[in-house]
């Protein structure tokens, strides 16, 4: 799919400092599908790593690099849309729904953190 210009801007902020490999991963996962959330990034929204250590790391071990209660996320072949959708809607009995808890910008920041993970 084509990431909207707004999202590109948000990701550009969120991904600043990430290795090139992260962008390569993002490019390969892009395809047709629903657009990503219309997010506006702010300095408070881009601490994806901190948010992960606060909440997500309870299930996705080693900062998302290793399977635990939840699956391994680094080098995931799932599309951006899939991951954003899963963060927003959760999975009954396995993962909470964060769609009304985290802002779109925070979710994008978490996605950017995931895409920047090495193994």
């Amino acid at each position: 799919m084509r990431i909207t210009s707004v999202i590109v801007a948000a990701l550009a902020i969120a991904w600043s400092g990430l290795p090139t490999a992260a962008f390569a991963q993002q490019s390969s996962s892009a395809g047709s599908g629903n657009p990503l959330p219309q997010a506006e990034a702010s300095p408070n929204d881009i601490e994806g790593g901190k948010m992960f250590a606060t909440t997500c790391g309870y299930c996705h071990q080693d900062g998302g690099r290793h399977a635990g209660r939840g699956p391994k996320l680094s080098k995931s072949e799932r599309s951006d849309e899939y991951i954003v959708e899963r963060i927003k809607k959760g999975k009954t009995g396995a993962m909470p729904a964060y769609g009304s808890v985290f802002s779109d910008g925070q979710i994008i920041a978490i996605l950017a953190y995931i895409r920047g993970l090495d193994d």
Binding site: T54, Y58, Q61, D62, G68
Partner: protein, 579 residues
Amino acid sequence: MTCHERYLAGCAALAVAALFAASPTHAQAPTQPQDAALNAEAAQNDWPTYHGTYKSYHYSGLDQINTGNVKNLEVAWLHFPERATRGLQSTPLALDGVLYYSGSYSRVYALDGATGKTIWAYAPELDEELVAKQTHSPYNRGIAIGHGNLYVGTVDGRLIALDLKTGKPVWDTKLLDSKRMTVGFTGAPLVVKDKVIIGAQGGEWPHRGPIFGVDGKTGQKKWEFFTVAGTEEAMKTWGGDSWRTGGGGGWMPGTYDPETNTVWWGTANPAPLYDWAGADWKKSGPRPGENLYTTSVIALDPDTGKLKFHHQELPHDAWDFDSSVGEFVMLDRGGKKLVVHANKSGYVFVYDRSNAKIENVWPLVKNINFVKSIDPKTGELIGRRDLSEGKVDPPLCPAIAGGISWNSGAYNPKNGLFYRIGQEWCMELTVEKTTPILEPMAQLNIGATFKFVPPPDGPARGHLSARDPVTGAKKWEVTYKQPPLASVLATAGNLVFVPDSEGVVHAYNADTGEELWSRNNGMGHNAGIISYMAGGKQYIAVPAGWGSLVADEFVALYGEPFKSMPKNTGALVVFALRQ
């Protein structure tokens, strides 16, 4: 009734009467447990409260099923609950030949104990949108019976009373603002005299973990005790405003000591789980100070909710080794009245029942490095390993799932042995500074990323050991490839039952550990196992159904059968001797 006041002298006759309790169809069938049955060492015909009796032995005095005939144990009947998301995690109760149990979404079932025929079923209407946002959800770990009612908590913050005979709601009281706090109730309530007592989920959730006392007849909240900064003394142990987001909670049921009119309850860890202050934790970090009354055993007056005394098992817990796990085993030894309580760290604490003074502390598990030791005379942590920001090296032992989990042990008063599951595992850990997320809904506050790893002495594993509960001296031990996550049952038939994680229920000789019988239920166990009498026959009841948060770790640790084990199904399996 007034049995509490004349407990020592007057209850023996009632205990005998309880042995001959009527069938479910009897016109005078009791609608609440007799005090004598609650106060006894052994559960007899009934299993009237979560831990068997207030003495919390998880011990049945029934011996129809024994070492000589357990080989003839077979399935008598099954019951399949609806919506068993995350399996089944509850401990059933039995009263007057009727078996009661709860499943996910706080659904409750009343079944004929001899046939499994449904007497009534109840499914509360929950806030499903809220449930979808919760981490520790939608499982339920148990119920309580008293005042002619059955009580069950809900993950959306309510305590509900049902008429024991009909299953019709009597009252429904909202106790927690779960839409803001996110958490609700998953643990079993405890009936004490005219009250129902229940503790909120907590620990890593940034709130103050209250425990509630509710009037059983009316549902009116009578008191609320904050496990975080619940007294002036405790407030001083939280630097700045950290008490506002301190965690705490009391997510598993405690018990009651009628001799002193004292409720004993274990409390959860503080938040964030992992503190980056290092050795300077008294003055800096996210929650400076000892953080009372987290990771503590607290003694409350059931009439007022006032704190009588306490012992903080781990001052300033920086490892998520809370005290909510662990039943309170009340026993008398050498003229002393003691209570034995297992902490998640893998240490077992022995207290004087009158004041929570330390009598002994002993380790149940081998792989512990968060402290060098705990002083068995004072309970002081020796060589505590306070963490700083960054990678923790070597890995922390035990892992976040603990050396001991919330599944209960058992004590056999005939042979004096305490049976407890231990867990051997560690974890790699990187501590990171975090800020509590409070709006629009509170979120977990972990403060780290981590990964389970095997301990230094071998594979990640579990064991059941039979020990002296006061000294910890070991008589025998059975090792499992994976830690069993279900509670243990001991019986007067000189048996110990362990439902394991792969799905097999084992029966061992209580004196030797020799396995005498086993049966595969086809799915893992993370619930409680009980025994009861119906129609003159002894039954063993165990919920099967996999999916607790600790169970979720098993896929990465062990692969199959856990990788393909369903986490949305369950069955209550009831065993009896072949005719």
